[in-house]
Symmetry: C2
Subunit: 166 residues, 2 copies
């Protein structure tokens, strides 16, 4: 449960960036410092407001671009915020979770009873009163698995088809 310190994160991040050939600019560093030292999830504009105090010439666009880079490198993650998710499915009676196929987009429901134990463990260890939870699995449904395997086969048989695809 113990998180890294802001310094640890910054050191890790600057190394990760430089190793991959990214430059360490003043603007980028200002954004990183804000993210590394925050104990809560921030929006781009919030990062912008704080980071600008360190580096007044910072542009909001750079915040967006830095965030994208950080996401790509797996150094930051998005936090689920229900209000921003803009696709909808019917609920099924009873508390259920979603299984989404990343290929065909279809959705299935499953019960998450097994989650109770986990939630109790987390609650007792952290002192949290867990009120709600969000669980969603993403993968390939049985049908799309077969379809992907078939297209893999095809590629092996006719490797040129790669270049034939747009």
């Amino acid at each position: 449960m113990a998180a890294s310190s802001a310094e640890e994160r910054l050191a890790r991040w600057t190394t990760a960036l430089q190793q991959r050939g990214y430059r360490l600019t003043v603007a980028r560093r200002a954004v990183l410092e804000v993210l590394a030292s925050s104990d809560r999830a921030l929006e781009a504009t919030q990062i912008f407001d704080v980071a600008r105090k360190r580096y007044a010439r910072l542009g909001l666009v750079t915040v967006y671009r830095t965030l994208e880079t950080m996401l790509t490198l797996g150094l930051v993650q998005r936090v689920h915020c229900d209000a921003q998710c803009a696709t909808y499915v019917a609920t099924e009676p009873g508390h259920q979770h979603l299984l989404v196929c990343r290929r065909c987009g279809r959705v299935w429901y499953f019960s998450g009873d097994d989650l109770e134990d986990l939630m109790h463990t987390v609650a007792s260890e952290s002192g949290f009163a867990v009120e709600d939870h969000w669980l969603q699995l993403v993968g390939l449904c049985a049908e799309c698995r077969r379809a992907e395997e078939e297209s893999d086969e095809e590629r092996k048989r006719a490797p040129l088809s790669y270049s034939q695809q747009k």
Copy 2:
């Protein structure tokens, strides 16, 4: 895992709406029918495009308003779509999940090892190849629990404070 049929859903939904005093208009019904018969998550504009084929005078605004009503009644749910979630936190090394305090907004990390079993169960039952999962718990952190309890106490002592709040 078995989902309701579109007809079942529609019947359930119209009852739920009418019981709460919502009117069953042509526009609303068109939106419900699209949602009830879809096996995948839809965006507002997608619902609009399909529903408009049934009822050409439908406006996109009505889709948004109907979705909001349905959410309020718990008849549809939002699906997590990473790209749309616009708050960010640092990742912690190792695969970890988030615990978010709904009051102070702070974020903690916890390991979700217990999830493995659940994912295997789901995978074997459904034929899914689970590739990724999304788990997030929301609640009150220890500190905010105490703070809320205290303010509850205050309210009991001085009930008038309710009206004093803006």
